[in-house]
């Protein structure tokens, strides 16, 4: 595995405040992407009780879509991100309607099916695009010097995009009929059905939105990291960590957990190394699982 989610190190570490500001801004930028991954993952679990181990491969598809559209065909980068996100979202709807719908409520079988899909997609990408890591040029270059912290513009683009997506997602869940239905299904799927919610509609929709978020994350991160068939494994693991931290199925938990993991990792990556940071992330999961098995904001069933 290549160096995971490398932090941006400050040019100068003149003072403690500057270091702290840099850690904060790095952590927020990474954390936002974790949130993007974890939200879809937790939404899919909440609505369908499927642990989507193919979530990283949806991220990977977003990356390859960017490689083709932006890298090879020279599309506008922002248009590419939107098209990649919706394309992967549509792919998710197909995955759900063709394969995963048979495993609703059967957590173990669903998990194995998702794993099979993940491995198939990885192998497929390997065959089509080759095993070597590829890259696309950065759509924007340069850094924003805030004095206390330095933020590269491309990270800022990712952060801004993510915030817009998160706001739209929140609005959807909070203020639309389908969003309300999704929250209801998460809390009691049987009673949601009694109110008239059709699983055959709301499940593909939830899986599609989760896929859209993952595909969008992959497209956003493609210029920052390299693109290859296994690029989704680490983000998937991170999403898993975040969701365990925040509480499986909890939307606010995914936001809290994502930002928390981003900040913690950023701190240890800056102070020690990214390896230590990754290790601490998982150590955090162990601690949470022992002392708060349902996660920080998990429901007490």
């Amino acid at each position: 595995m290549t160096a995971p989610w490398p932090a941006v190190l400050p040019h100068c570490c003149a003072g403690r405040h500057m270091l702290l500001a840099q850690i904060l801004s790095n952590g927020l930028m990474t954390g936002l992407v974790y949130v993007l991954m974890a939200l879809g993952f937790t939404l899919i679990f909440g609505v369908m009780r499927i642990v989507n181990f193919a979530h990283g491969e949806l991220y990977m598809l977003g990356g390859f879509a960017t490689l083709i559209l932006f890298g090879n065909l020279g599309w506008n980068y922002y248009l590419t991100v939107v098209v990649a996100a919706f394309g992967v979202g549509l792919f998710g709807v197909l995955l759900q309607s063709l394969l995963l719908k048979h495993f609703i409520g059967r957590e173990l079988s669903g998990m194995i099916m998702a794993l099979a899909i993940a491995i198939t997609l990885q192998a497929g990408a390997n065959i089509i695009f080759g095993p070597e890591e590829q890259s696309v040029p950065r759509p924007v270059t340069g850094v924003l010097d805030l004095g206390a912290a330095v933020v590269p513009y491309d990270r800022l683009v990712v952060g801004g995009f993510t915030l817009v997506i998160l706001a739209a997602f929140w609005f959807f869940l909070q203020f639309t009929r389908w969003g309300l239905a999704m929250r209801a299904v998460t809390q009691d799927s049987e009673m949601a059905a009694v109110q008239g919610v059709r699983p055959g509609f709301i499940h593909p929709l939830a899986f599609g939105i989760g896929s859209l978020l993952a595909g969008g994350a992959g497209a956003l991160m493609a210029p920052i990291y390299t693109i290859y068939s296994y690029m989704g494994e680490l983000p998937m693991l991170k999403a898993f960590v975040v969701v365990i931290l925040g509480g499986l199925g909890s939307i606010p938990g995914a936001v809290l957990g994502g930002l928390l993991l981003g900040l913690v990792e950023s701190f240890f990556a800056t102070m020690y190394s990214t390896t230590v940071a990754t290790m601490i992330g998982f150590a955090l999961v162990i601690v949470i699982l022992i002392f708060r098995p349902r996660g920080l904001l998990g429901r007490t069933a």
Binding site: R177, L180, A181, R183, A184, Q187, D188, E190, M191, A192, A193, V194, Q195, G196, V197, R198, R299
Partner: protein, 245 residues
């Protein structure tokens, strides 16, 4: 005249028959109660009617149509809705959102707004707490919210499963009053209860289940006077002898 009818219904969980050949019916505007001890199959019967449980045999007929085994959303669309045992609210949604979920299949039109106001009129406490998470309500308030949610679908038949379960005597009285008001407004109602006195007081007709079978049925007034019912369900002291009404 729209009738909900169940014919020789059988429900199995694994090898165990929870409901073993039950036949019953409720006519338009009627209130019918189903009595019986825990595990008699009352809840299974209601769940099967709304499509949450598939029957092992028999038929469910609604308004002349065979609706056996239809999924829940189809039953809701046809106007048959269930207020489940234990309230089963969406605990993290607000009271208002729970009521909106009840009206999930309806357009947000004038009739919807009128129904929302009507529910708030019946349950002023719900209006006061409309922005509060449903899980934070008291038991009685949750039951009101559950009944309100069921009414928001503008049902033609209301199936109420144990509305008095776990409620204080005061809250039970309140819920009883509301159910009788709803019934007086002409709502076809099937009431499943362990509180037989309350249920028979509200209904015109009653069925008594015993381990998945129909033990007794008759007009509510006759059941109230039945010595066996008095003995077992009303806590009276009489000869323990079964008399079919």
């Amino acid at each position: 005249m729209k009738t909900l009818e169940v014919r020789n219904l059988k429900i199995a969980y694994g090898n165990v028959l929870a409901v073993d050949g039950i036949t019953c019916r409720v006519g338009e505007g009627q209130v019918v109660c189903i009595l019986g001890a825990n595990g008699a199959g009352k809840s299974s019967l209601l769940k099967c009617i709304v499509g949450l449980v598939r029957p092992a045999g028999g038929q469910v007929l609604w308004d002349g149509e065979d609706v056996t085994g239809l999924p829940p959303h189809e039953m809701t669309r046809r106007g048959v809705t269930l207020s489940a045992e234990g309230r089963r609210l969406f605990p993290e949604l607000t009271v208002r959102e729970n009521l909106l979920m009840g009206a999930y299949l309806r357009p947000r039109d004038a009739a919807f707004r009128a129904d929302l106001e009507r529910v708030y009129g019946w349950f002023p406490r719900l209006k006061e707490r409309s922005r509060q998470a449903a899980g934070s309500l008291s038991g009685g308030e949750q039951q009101m919210c559950a009944i309100g949610r069921a009414l928001m679908s503008a049902p033609k038949v209301l199936l109420l499963d144990e509305p008095s379960l776990g409620l204080s005597p005061l809250a039970t009285r309140e819920v009883t009053r509301i159910i009788s008001e709803i019934a007086r407004a002409g709502m076809t109602t099937v009431l499943v209860e362990q509180n037989a006195r309350m249920a028979l007081g509200l209904s015109q007709y009653g069925y008594v289940l015993e381990t998945g079978r129909l033990a007794l049925q008759g007009p509510a007034s006759e059941l109230l006077d039945n010595p066996w019912i008095k003995d077992i369900y009303l806590g009276g002291s009489g000869p323990s002898q079964k008399v079919v009404a």
